[in-house]
Symmetry: C2
Subunit: 341 residues, 2 copies
Amino acid sequence: MKTNRSDTPFSDILALFDSFPLIDQESVEKVQARDGMLTKPPGSLGRLEEIAEWLAGWQASYPPKVDRPITVVFAGNHGVVGQGVTAYPAEVTAQMVTNFQTGGAAVNQICETFGAGLKVFELALEIPTKDITQEPAMDEESCAATIAFGMEAIADKPDLLCIGEMGIGNTTIAAAMCCGLYGGKAADWVGPGTGVDDAGLARKIEAVERAVALHKDHCKDPLELLRRLGGREIAAMVGAILAARIGNIPVLFDGYIATAAAAIIHAISPAGLDHCLAAHCSAEPAHAALLEKLDMEPLLNLRMRLGEGSGASLAIGIVQASANLHNGMATFDQAGVSDKD
Amino acid sequence: MKTNRSDTPFSDILALFDSFPLIDQESVEKVQARDGMLTKPPGSLGRLEEIAEWLAGWQASYPPKVDRPITVVFAGNHGVVGQGVTAYPAEVTAQMVTNFQTGGAAVNQICETFGAGLKVFELALEIPTKDITQEPAMDEESCAATIAFGMEAIADKPDLLCIGEMGIGNTTIAAAMCCGLYGGKAADWVGPGTGVDDAGLARKIEAVERAVALHKDHCKDPLELLRRLGGREIAAMVGAILAARIGNIPVLFDGYIATAAAAIIHAISPAGLDHCLAAHCSAEPAHAALLEKLDMEPLLNLRMRLGEGSGASLAIGIVQASANLHNGMATFDQAGVSDKD
């Protein structure tokens, strides 16, 4: 559902969709041609073969490579935290940003394991977005500016981009966005997040119900839904995914919140996510349903539910292996191995 | 079903089960204690937390480490290939061994991706085992000797052992073993392997039917079943798993054939596999059913069906990340992050 509007801060964002490159068929065909000569039964590397095609096709170059993977973590704060929907206090967002910067968080260790870079984008943590149960989270101008800021995720020209987030309260935000986008009961989209108790879960469901009821007449336009029910880290992830598409950079995302950002792009144009892979299915219950809406099959399912881009970063190893397999294996001819009868 | 026998070549193998160490509770408790202090919601790293416990517990030391992972590929040839059950000719086994040795195979690239060592054990490739549709694959002495040879897999003292195999014809062997161990129709346990055509698949099913019918009165004793319906690479993998248990080395295995080896140990003593994780669920259709018999949930499911220990080696990255997360993350105190309300 492409929304055509002009002379608003969102016009420039929507215009980007018209300049989206398609997958580079020439690179895909080069992958397929070499893959058929490698010393293995055809198809026997399963999704690793598909990943090599995806990588080269969206990098629009051959051979596929994972030399400069980077994870960008976007951090935001949320007015809805005032509704008592979280297990941890809001100051944890800023504390965790420091933890990312000093190397102590989970995503630091995962990135280091696979030689990936890590950057943190702090999004005005001291000014939480407005409480979505009361008013729109952001005005249109600041939402558009945050999307544009998120585009800086590709400034270092990575060849693979992982996106992640940190934001106390943002599973409530993601649930409200999903409920606004896809309908259904609030309870279907709400889960325990970082581990809220039963009373907190009830407040969380109620907050999502009230927020969606308040903004229900404005949910048809995905960017309008984003500014009303979303948050800054989510807007920034939308920008990161858009910039990566235009910059020929394949994207890995994971988690309920990053996937909610992806869902905004999908709602504008389903093909807008073709350069992305879902890296991990979260233990947050609604994430599997959301991935189904996007028709994406996650690479990993390890019952993680941490955010931070931890699942996306963990999948870097799989993508690196795919590239190395494609580029490094011998052909039947080179190895003197008899091909299939 | 522990079988007590004496004065046979298998007696020494069975005696090993009595000296199996249990998981080291002290190391597990150390992992749990530190895990609870790390800057993440409790449980939010899902299986990665369980892997850290498993690693330290079976290494019987703390902290958990993956400094010396190694993949050992066992290669064997099979008389049953004479029944026309394979897509590739038998000489491919030896050709692929050369390919492993010169670095051109899939598993080489995966091991290199994660910094793992790779060793190949060639098991008398020029003398295939006997055709299981006609007679037992091996005599007891040579089966026991091959198990003992497989124990050399831990000679380099790895801290994580991945096992894999190469052997044209060995999905037929694995299917016969499973059918002998668990009953059911041959067709339920037979799949396309490296990609046999429909006529070949029919011959494969028939070969398994005939083999199991021939040896059906000897399927109660797991080691007797192994020598009759198995193969050398499978016997050697049994030895590798046993040696790793005794040597405090956690094991990753994947694939239908390696799992059939694990099933022999499970049939003798289900707890005999507690130091092992199933790394990947193969696209070979019966593998999922076999993993269910062993009550194991694979870490990965990427539709691979190559063997070579490729799926096990791919999971090294996950296990490395688990260890690094546990060892490298900051605690709430260190990072100055507020813990849960």
